[in-house]
Symmetry: C2
Subunit: 428 residues, 2 copies
């Protein structure tokens, strides 16, 4: 006998968890589709060199790399961004530009599991490449707003910043060369606080410029309006410019469509990754501020430089699905039932179970998912089985031929129904 | 620069191929859900011993096995049956019995790619475990019929046999001990023909018994009715028994629900795998008989014996999704458009693109997926771009404020529309 154990950092999804995940993915996907994003898929396994380049780095150590039976150095993908860059480089002539894709798929990282992280998890990326237009930046922001509103059923706050404007400011104060290090410190502000951030900045630059960076990154704050904050950081970075105009355009698009209230211009948003060059954004659920950003991204100007000569700029974001699921489970948001079925047909006699499919098919034809219980048992036992599965109703075919519909939560029976009557009751 | 190449036997899914795959999966999944099947998911990576056992075998050589950075012998799953057995053994107390699950996921096999096989492909399995009832066998057959009808949009033929009845027959003619070898030969009949099958059987048994096996497996044929064939094979295996009664029950369920015409009792269906013990079945699309069985399965009486003491019987089937996709693509079945969007908003001036989301959101609110073109170009160029993406309509906001809706296939414009007018026209 072999012990049926799982690898550390890997997990099974039982029906209720898998249905929760699918519900979430389907809501997000419906938004993508309604906006004209198209899905792609890439292999889980690629050449190690394609995924990791020729060098090392932290992701390298975390990667699942091995030699296949043909002696090739291969690896499991650790994100969806690198495969997307490779995909675009390989299929460039076939892709209509601007190209808008989404990709929801598993990725693998041999990370330390002690922090509650999994080694297999789902990523959900969406990007628009091949255009530098503000309309593309806005479309990503609008998509984030729609997707997160659909999921969370509550308020969403999306914090926006512009890397380019911040760099302009850094140039002005003579700190452009330290921009990567400065960004890294600024990125920690929410965690370590303003005082500690100031100390780190002073060590990196000097007291005066540290104070200037703090002034910039703390400009506005949550109580300030987008326009006030924009005026301040525009002035601090040397006056009106292309970057400040983009932030003004985005604001006007938000206002015209009526979602401006969900957006905050936040000069402290840095996003750790080096490759962002334009707008960057993070988003938070008002009901769950503690879980951090659930969807982040930004604009970059060279997606696929590792694989092709064409410079491809774009803008995109990634939804932290696993984090969202964990958070929604913690708050008990509905939609976590263990079944899609709305009603089950009770099995009174063993020989009825096959025949009950005739009744079930009539119910299904009305668009109602219907399970047929396959083995005879006491009615009460079958009620319990349905409740345990998360099926809210059962229907019983009585000896007289009429139907009884039971609402399991209310413990109420409606008797003497026809098939159409039962369907009508289920629809209401 | 790194060459953006793929591993042999692996492939990208571009939007049209990915949409085709998703359409297919969603149709099948809708059937599963309507019947009360629930989804599960398991890790792509498991302990090699869990997936391959302690021994070798053909799948073993084809497996992607390696050592992870912690020194564990791990492997990518090569099917969904073995992980399901492991899953059931691990979670038995939590699963409501009978347990009805579906699982659609990628699997990996380092197979010879010369036969046009891929090393990464999607499997789609559904099973009912924890019941021996005929109603469960019937539910799997009904699900197959519904799923394949939903996909193929044409006739479906499902061929059914009973392993137990065949074994009874083999016992009667004194060939029970050779049953595995006999099944293996019988399984080839469709490929090698009756004469060749007879020769192989004679070599295995003797002339007389070879003729008897041929008589059994050729009983009926496509022109015979289920009942005629059943009478013959029942007589050949020694008369009425539990197995023949089950085939009779299944027939009566099919008749009552009105799908009996799609089923053939075919004593030549063997299914290679050793572990089936009851009904077995294969299914064929009438429009595409050449591609072979697109959904196969059967009843087994010990799913998880490798991992736990409980004997779990069940019945299930697997849809050959990749084969189906290849076949449907060859016949040009609709639903292979490169976009979900039904209409695109043309971009007349660059600064309109962001604002056009206001119009697009009104169209989307009516349930119509709508793309916004993000960069200005000549109208004709944008018409072509929409057509290339498979978007059938475009809408243009004229300077006057009224809308023009263009049907790209018909090359017809409707002018002077309001937003509601354009939506109404798109719905029709």
């Amino acid at each position: 006998m072999i012990e049926p154990k799982l690898l550390k950092g890997f997990r099974d999804f039982l029906p209720d968890a898998e249905i929760t995940k699918k519900n979430l993915e389907e809501k997000i996907e419906a938004v993508f589709r309604s906006m004209g994003f198209v899905p792609i898929d890439t292999p889980a396994l690629e050449y190690a060199e394609v995924l990791f380049g020729k060098g090392g780095g932290e992701t390298d150590k975390q990667g699942y790399r091995f030699e296949d039976s043909g002696g090739r150095a291969v690896a499991l993908r650790f994100d969806l961004t690198v495969p997307f860059a490779r995909f675009v480089a390989l299929h460039l002539p076939e892709l209509p530009m601007p190209f808008k894709r989404y990709h929801i798929a598993k990725v693998w990282r041999g990370e330390n599991t002690q922090r509650g992280r999994y080694r297999e998890f789902t990523q959900c990326d969406f990007d628009i490449i091949g255009t530098e237009s503000a309309a593309a930046d806005f479309e990503i922001l609008l998509t984030m707003h729609k997707a997160l509103s659909a999921i969370a059923g509550g308020g969403v706050t999306i914090r926006v910043n512009h890397r380019g404007l911040f760099n302009r400011f850094l140039t002005r104060i003579g700190a452009r060369e330290q921009s990567v290090e400065v960004l890294r410190v600024v990125d920690k502000r929410a965690k370590i606080g303003e005082v500690e951030t100031g100390k780190l900045l002073a060590a990196l630059l000097d007291e005066k410029r540290a104070a200037q960076v703090l002034e910039y990154t703390c400009a506005g704050g949550d109580s300030a309006s987008w326009d006030e904050t924009l005026d301040k950081i525009t002035a601090l970075s040397g006056g009106d410019c292309e970057e400040s105009r983009r932030l003004r355009d985005l604001r006007s698009f938000m206002q015209e469509i009526g979602i401006a209230g969900a957006f905050v211009l936040d000069p402290s948003i840095a996003r750790g990754l080096d490759y962002y060059t334009g707008v960057v954004f993070e988003s938070f659920l008002d009901a769950l501020p503690g879980i951090g950003s659930v969807c982040s991204g930004g604009r970059y100007d060279d997606l696929a430089g590792l694989y092709c000569k064409q410079r491809l700029s774009g803008v995109g974001a990634s939804v932290g699905l696993d984090r969202l699921i964990a958070a929604l489970e913690a708050t008990g948001t509905p939609g976590t039932s263990g079944s899609y079925a709305k009603v089950a047909v009770v099995c009174v006699e063993a020989e009825d179970a096959g025949r009950n499919q005739v009744l079930a098919e009539k119910i299904r034809a009305a668009g109602i998912a219907c399970e047929v219980f396959l083995e005879p048992a006491k009615r009460t036992a079958q009620y319990q089985a349905a409740e345990k599965k998360g099926i809210p109703f059962v229907v019983i075919k009585e000896e007289t031929g009429s139907l009884t519909l039971r609402d399991l939560a209310k413990r109420e029976n409606r008797t003497g129904l026809t098939v159409d009557g039962a369907i009508a009751a289920l629809i209401n």
